[in-house]
Amino acid sequence: MVALKQLEGDGRDMKNKIEIRIIDDCYNVFHNNKIIIKVSKENLTIKGRELYDNLFSKLDIKNKIEFEYEKDSSFINSEEERIVGDIIEIFDLIATKINSKFKLESLE
């Protein structure tokens, strides 16, 4: 497991850190150290409402949304890697669409 890197500063540099760990046959997705969703290996389902309530409804959308991902190093097979890749792809897709919809631009 890679520990979540906490970035501190004046807030302007704050990026959204997403960490994915496998715990108890679930893909656990953390945002800034807080768990936001669990995706069970059995049904591989992302609960939309949970994802919205726990992450996207709380995002500051004044600035461009960018995620930095940290993956669990203990992934044992390519299937797990593929699933994590899909989750990341979904997060990025949402971020891209939000940025486009709200015409958000990076501060940099």
Partner: protein, 796 residues
């Protein structure tokens, strides 16, 4: 004799002669019949129209008769017999009350008899007093009964009733408060006499404190020295004497009516304010008989039976100009009027031009004005109301804020709806991976070529064998036959050999086909797996797209969602007012201010009260639908908005209101039921617009109670300022208004007959009071109430 009052009468009913010498001494010694010219000159100099010698407890008929000879020579129009009685009404009075009694002079013998009834005691040479130097009340009444004439009683009240000093000698209030109140309530006296002009103000205060109808004041000179007239005497330094004016004809009935109606008494000749728009007379020709009806500057009432032509007279005189929607004067009515005039040979030769008419209220018109709501906005009142309040800025504030609320509500609802679109995404799961093997089909062309070749050989061998057998049938040589048979055998073995080869070849081809078929099945299966995976992938990608879009859209709705907030700054909505006379005409909205509380209530207005629901509690369209009152299944947000806007419009409706100062000086709002009161109050108060007021049967539009309570006063006020011509069947308008001129339409042997005169007018043919009593329902009762104790006259 004049039929109507054209000018007020200047009166002095209290002058002493030498006959009062027994009481007043030498001061009256020169007031003798021989010196009557002195008094006559003085009376003419002062323009006195009605006068009376009223000596203490005595009467000099000769003097009365002498003065009466002056009637209609100069100013004097009427001399009435009178006596000043000294009456002790109670046992503990400090002095008698002086009561001037004016007698009806209709019966000269009885007038002559007054002197006899009041004959002095031979021993004392004074009146036959029964109580100190006066008559007791009983004796006084006994004397009046003996005289047996209608009488008007005027009590001394030289000191004002508001004075805190001890009551003055000979004044009515010397009898004490209780007895004096009895005098007032029973109207024992027709009037009270005062002399000092300064007291007039205080007398008016007394009248305002008591019922105005109970107290009537007139002046009397109480002149004791004719040369000093109208002073008491030449030695008296009192101020200038002011005569009283009475609005009446110069006869006893006129005096009696005038002294019992405060509106007929004035210290100025101001009963008729000169108005250029006056109808002087009405000229009518009936069957070639000419009638010229003199018209009063005040109130002229036209009475008579139904359908006798009273309304016709008004419409014809005004040249039918009131043939509008509010008037009953339809074309058929107009034609009927013209037919009636022709059939009865009536010509109305007086026309009142429209510019001389203040207003013509036709029969039933006022009620129509009220019913049609025209009172508040009709031509008469239009200029009295202020312009409308500019509510546009207020309305704009409210509507803008409502739009914001609706926007917030919509965003709230959209957010709620979008939440329902969020779903769970299943990540693509890959279960089978197709093999990567490459399969190459077996080639079978060599085998097929060999097979064709062998088949051709076998075919040719069979053909050759058939030809050889044909040949054999032709040959008879045995050797040759044997040789041919040997060759046949060879061909047969060759054919067998090739058939064997062919069978092997066909086996090989079957095996190749089986392999190729297996290969094909494998490829089909692989393609099938590939298609399912691709479909699942595509489906997943579409789902993922939708999933992402729904989340982004929800975020968008969340960002756009705004809570219902408003900030309505307190704004007062001021009335628009316009003062007119004693009234304030007001335009007032149903609300007088807007603020946050008002707006909050406004938002809750379309919502149900039970159970109590407020706009903050509503989260979605379904909840709104369930919360709306009288919801009609249309778009709920539009319904909600329309209800609020309608309420705003309703709250900003401007009501026209009339306020009037009450007796305490506070403005009170009239209720709609008092329209007629306002109407006539305003009409009567309008002193600026000239013209005649014509009204046909006002009693049709107003309750009898309201007539008595309000209208009589309104008409009394109005007829001071303008001429009124009224058709009526109500005796109150004739008798209680003391009509200045009563025009009576009757039928005499089917011919129309017209009589006219003031209420008190009477000659050998016409008695106006009698006509009123006969023609009007309730006339007798009304006259009795007005005529009070002059029943003797009434009986006559």
């Amino acid at each position: 004799m004049e039929k109507i009052v054209k000018h007020a009468l200047k009166v002095d009913l209290h002058i002493h002669s030498n006959k009062s010498k027994f009481k007043d001494g030498n001061i009256v010694k020169n007031n003798t019949i021989e010196n009557i010219e002195v008094l006559i000159k003085k009376l003419n100099d002062y323009g006195v129209n009605v006068c009376a010698i009223s000596d203490h407890d005595s009467f000099d008929y000769n003097l009365f008769e002498r003065l009466k000879q002056e009637e209609n020579k100069g100013c004097i129009k009427k001399v009435v017999p009178a006596v000043e009685f000294s009456v002790m009404f109670t046992n503990n009075q400090e002095s008698p009350v002086h009561v001037v009694c004016i007698f009806n002079d209709a019966n000269n013998e009885k007038v002559k008899n007054i002197e006899q009834v009041l004959k002095f005691d031979e021993l004392t040479n004074k009146p036959n007093y029964d109580y100190k130097e006066a008559f007791s009340e009983n004796k006084f009444i006994e004397i009046l009964s003996s005289i047996d004439l209608d009488v008007i009683l005027i009590a001394h009240q030289k000191q004002t009733l508001t004075s805190t000093s001890t009551p003055q000698e000979n004044d009515a209030n010397i009898v004490g408060e209780e007895k004096f109140n009895e005098f007032l309530i029973s109207e024992y006296f027709e009037a009270f006499e005062f002399k000092n002009r300064k007291n007039q103000v205080f007398n008016n205060i007394s009248k305002s404190q008591l019922s105005k109808d109970l107290l009537r004041f007139i002046t009397g000179s109480d002149c004791h020295e004719w040369t000093a007239y109208p002073k008491y005497s030449s030695n008296n330094n009192e101020g200038e004497f002011k005569h009283t004016y009475l609005k009446c004809l110069p006869n006893f009935k006129g005096l009696a009516l005038a002294l019992t109606d405060d509106t007929r008494i004035s210290m100025e000749d101001n009963f008729f304010i000169h108005n250029k728009d006056v109808v002087e007379k009405i000229n009518i020709s009936i069957n070639d008989k000419e009638y010229s009806i003199p018209m009063s500057k005040g109130l002229n009432v036209i009475i008579g039976d139904n359908s006798i032509g009273k309304s016709l007279l008004l419409h014809k005189m005004t040249d039918y100009y009131r043939d509008d929607s509010l008037s009953p004067l339809t074309t058929s009515v107009k034609n009927g009027y013209n037919r009636y005039l022709n059939q009865n040979n009536i010509k109305i030769n007086t026309t009142i031009s429209q510019d001389k008419i203040f207003l013509f209220d036709t029969q039933g018109e006022i009620r129509k004005k009220f019913n049609q709501g025209k009172l508040k906005e009709n031509d008469f009142f239009a200029d009295k109301y202020p312009p409308e309040i500019n509510v546009v800025p207020i309305k704009t504030i409210l509507i803008d804020e409502v739009d914001n609320v609706i926007k917030s509500l919509k965003s709230k609802f959209e957010y709620y709806e979008q939440q329902k679109n969020i779903f769970d995404l299943k990540i693509l799961e890959i279960k089978e991976q197709p093999s990567n093997l490459i399969l190459i089909n077996c080639q079978d062309s060599n085998e097929k070529n060999e097979n064709t070749k062998i088949s051709n050989i076998i075919k040719q061998i069979s053909k050759t064998t058939q030809e050889i057998n044909k040949l054999l049938s032709l040959i008879e040589n045995e050797e040759e036959i044997n040789e041919i048979n040997n060759f046949n055998n060879f061909l047969k073995s060759l054919k067998d050999s090739y058939n064997t080869k062919k069978a092997l070849l066909l086996n090989n081809l079957n095996i190749i086909n089986s392999i190729n078929s297996a290969f094909n099945d494998f490829i089909i299966e692989k393609n099938k797996i590939m298609t399912t995976a691709n479909q699942a992938l595509n489906e997943y990608l579409v789902n993922r797209e939708n999933f992402v879009d729904s989340l982004v859209s929800l975020l968008e709705k969340q960002v756009n969602k705004s809570e219902i907030t408003f900030n309505i700054k307190e704004e007062k909505i001021k009335d628009e007012t316009l003062d007119y006379l004693n009234f304030t005409f007001i335009r007032r909205t149903n609300i007088n201010s807007i603020n946050n509380e008002y707006f909050s209530n406004l938002l809750n207005f379309p919502l149900k009260k039970r159970p109590l629901i407020t706009y903050e509690m509503i989260n979605n369209e379904e909840e709104l639908k369930d919360s709306l009152k009288e919801y009609d299944e249309t778009d709920p947000i539009e319904f909600f908005k329309n209800k609020i806007i309608n309420k705003i419009n309703e709250d900003l409706i401007q009501r026209p209101i009339v306020n009037k100062k009450n007796e305490e000086g506070e403005y009170v709002e009239y209720s709609s039921g008092l329209n007629s009161q306002i109407y006539f109050e305003i009409l009567s108060a309008d002193r600026y617009k000239n013209g005649v007021y014509i009204i046909d049967q006002p009693e049709d539009d107003v309750s009898p109670k309201s007539i008595k309570k309000h209208l009589l006063k309104n008409f009394k006020d109005m007829c001071k300022n303008r001429q009124i011509i009224m058709v009526t069947h109500n005796p109150q308008f004739v008798v209680n208004l003391d009509a200045d001129n009563v025009i009576v339409f009757t039928k005499d042997n089917e011919n129309l007959k017209i009589e006219s005169g003031a209420l008190e007018y009477q000659d050998s043919e016409t008695n106006i009071l009698d006509l009123v009593a006969t023609l009007l329902d309730g006339g007798v009762e009304t006259i009795r109430r007005r005529w009070k104790r002059y029943e003797k006259q009434d009986r006559d």
